[in-house]
């Protein structure tokens, strides 16, 4: 699936929020279970702030029950054949695909992002990740090496056992797929905690795949970080913790893991530079048009992406001409009801997120950044007036400003200029983070050398925001570690068992 294949012209389809039950349970040991202490929290839609449904406000008891179910299931599941696990993962992908529209509507209702994104990116990509890992485990093998004429080293992959996974709200189903697919594929049982802002799609998936997986293999626990996330991340009875979120919680989870000596993988955000060299303006052609869109991709998913290209670096001799085109394109972004397929940008995911973004725009202005377009909340009509909308905003300033250094997680981009390659690299790397970056050029040397010099795990060259399976994704610096979306992730969920076999009949001779 490639989101570039989609033609949005002349579309005017309109969707709506799917029907929700009044309340849902945790999915533990193959069944939906009420929270042990009977507490629930309300989940509201950021589209119009209306109540969608109630979800369990779980605590340590619920978490431990899920961990126990996973531990009971791990031996059998870990010994299933790759063929059997792959078959099940393909069926999960089928379920996602068959229910694409419902999943997409659910994601839009829950997260606020536009239906054109959930229908064409989030949901199809999620299905594809399950297919990818299903296929990968059929094709791989361990190894056998003759170390000398009498000694054979066998390497066999073994699952870790039970994996705790804590995922964020920006791509609820897709982040689930990134984490759950490789963990199940490699033979682990999973206890997943979705973000409390977006509990819907994980629950719906559990409903749909309950009969596909043996009880206890896949468990979903809802609730708040301090009450449900902490006991999950600090449990001595899980074998690994995988987390996507922010730096402080990342450090905290690593501390808990250090007490248990558990491995972790972390994906902790970024402040990704999107670098435009002057050769892009050599011709006014399809490629230049692509570059302009590439700059405006800061507004994709309302800017709520860890890799959002939230710093635009433009070579100074093309700045005036290029930024004019970027501003024009940004102003043409159609905001509105996220359920309309013509809507390009929807609501921010929550009221606190909305407020935080406005605070960043304010400090940007205080620091002396110039507002090139946007710069405020967006007021929409009718029911949407209660939703959380922000105008796509471009701020011009310099790289030491806070709006250039902090992840705003909104449709706000900070623009600066650079003189030459050296300065472009210096500014690009002047950040705590190293998750994504973009380089745009027609120069054959630059398109290899600049990405090599940028300290980030993923550098998009003449493209951005593409997340295909089999392209590894993960951070440098404070953006974390681990490489998702690629078969190398399987080894982050496995042990390597080494069998060292001697065919020598003679003793060593020491004793």
């Amino acid at each position: 699936m490639d989101i570039r294949d989609v033609n949005f012209k002349n579309i005017s389809m309109s969707y709506s929020a799917p029907k929700f039950k009044e309340k849902y349970g945790n999915f533990i040991n193959g069944k939906f279970q009420d929270p042990i202490d009977g507490k629930y929290f309300e989940n509201h839609s950021p589209v119009d702030n209306k109540l969608l449904a109630k979800y369990p406000r779980s605590n340590e008891k619920d978490v431990n029950s899920a961990i126990e179910a996973a531990n009971n299931a791990k031996h059998k599941w870990g010994n299933t054949s790759a063929a059997e696990r792959a078959g099940i993962l393909h069926k999960i992908a089928d379920v996602i695909q068959e229910n694409l529209e419902t999943f997409a509507q659910m994601e839009t209702a829950d997260n606020g992002k536009s239906i054109r994104e959930t229908m064409n990116a989030d949901v199809p990509l999620a299905a594809d990740h399950f297919r990818y890992f299903a296929s990968a485990i059929r094709a791989e093998e361990g190894s056998a090496t003759e170390l000398n004429e009498n000694t054979l080293s066998l390497i066999i992959n073994e699952p870790l056992g039970v994996v705790a996974q804590i995922i964020p709200w920006n791509f609820p189903l897709l982040m689930l797929a990134w984490k759950v697919a490789p963990a199940l594929a490699s033979g682990n049982c999973v206890v997943l905690k979705p973000a409390e802002q977006t509990p819907a799609s994980a629950t719906f998936l559990a409903e749909k795949i309950a009969d596909l997986l043996p009880p206890g293999v896949f468990n979903v626990i809802h609730g708040f970080g301090p009450e449900a996330g902490k006991p999950l991340a600090s449990s001595p009875n899980v074998d690994k913790v995988a987390f996507t979120g922010e730096t402080t919680t990342g450090q905290l989870i690593m501390q808990y893991a250090s007490k248990n000596l558990h491995p972790v993988t972390m994906e902790l955000g970024g402040k990704s530079p999107n670098v435009f060299f002057n050769s892009i303006m050599d011709h006014d052609d399809a490629f230049l048009d692509k570059c302009i869109e590439g700059a405006v991709l800061f507004a994709f998913n309302q800017g709520e992406v860890c890799t959002a290209p939230s710093r635009i670096l433009i070579q100074e001799d093309i700045y005036d001409e290029f930024i004019k085109r970027v501003i024009e394109r940004t102003k043409a972004i159609k905001m509105g009801n996220p359920f309309e397929e013509s809507t390009m940008m929807g609501a921010q995911a929550s009221s606190d997120q909305h407020q935080k973004i406005l605070e960043y725009i304010k400090i940007g202005k205080d620091e002396g950044a110039e507002v090139l377009t946007g710069g405020d909340a967006a007021k929409l009509d009718g029911d949407l007036a209660n939703g959380f909308y922000i105008q796509p905003t471009i701020l011009k300033g310099h790289n030491k400003m806070r709006v250039f250094q902090e992840e705003i997680f909104g449709p706000v981009v900070a623009v600066c200029t650079f003189k030459d390659e050296a300065e472009a690299i210096e500014i690009a790397n002047d950040t705590m983070y190293g998750l994504g970056a973009g380089v745009w050029t027609r120069d054959a040397h630059q398109l290899y050398q600049i990405p090599r010099a940028i300290k980030a795990g993923r550098v998009w060259v003449n493209c951005y925001h593409d997340y295909p399976a089999h392209a590894p994704f993960g951070g440098y610096k404070k953006s974390g570690f681990g490489r998702e979306n690629h078969l190398m992730m399987l080894n982050h969920y496995r042990q390597s068992k080494n069998m060292l076999i001697s065919y020598d009949k003679n003793k060593l001779g020491f004793f």
Binding site: E196, T249, E359, Q405, M432
Partner: protein
């Protein structure tokens, strides 16, 4: 005159005192990055490992406020006010179950503050 890098609003302080009652000694640590980041996290004091890589920015409502050193380098020219907003975060911050989130409001330090705090 005392110069401060970080202060707290009355509403936020009220919530903070309630959470202190409930959880005992706590600290603030300013987070960076991703979904719930760029927000102050309120954590049990014994939970979070603080060392020389963290800068003590000050104390609000009897609670120490820290930030990692590299982040501080980009923040030190600004004054912070801890406030609250309705909402919910996905982190481990102790305010989340209350339905409110601590939020940072920032302004530039004035010349005098800058001279006293940063030179």
């Amino acid at each position: 005159m005392e110069f401060k890098r970080v202060e707290i609003t009355q509403e936020a302080d009220k919530l903070l005192q309630e959470l202190k009652q409930q959880h005992g000694e706590v600290i603030f640590h300013q987070s960076g990055g991703c979904c719930d980041g760029s927000s102050p996290m309120l954590l049990p004091k014994e939970d979070f490992y603080i060392d020389d890589n963290d800068i003590l920015m000050g104390e609000v409502g009897g609670v120490k406020f820290y930030m990692s050193h590299d982040q501080f380098e980009y923040w030190k020219h600004t004054h912070l006010t801890v406030d609250i907003v309705k909402g919910r975060g996905g982190s481990f911050s102790l305010d989340i179950p209350t339905g409110y989130r601590f939020l940072i409001k920032s302004r530039m330090l004035n010349d005098e503050e800058n001279k006293n705090l940063n030179s």
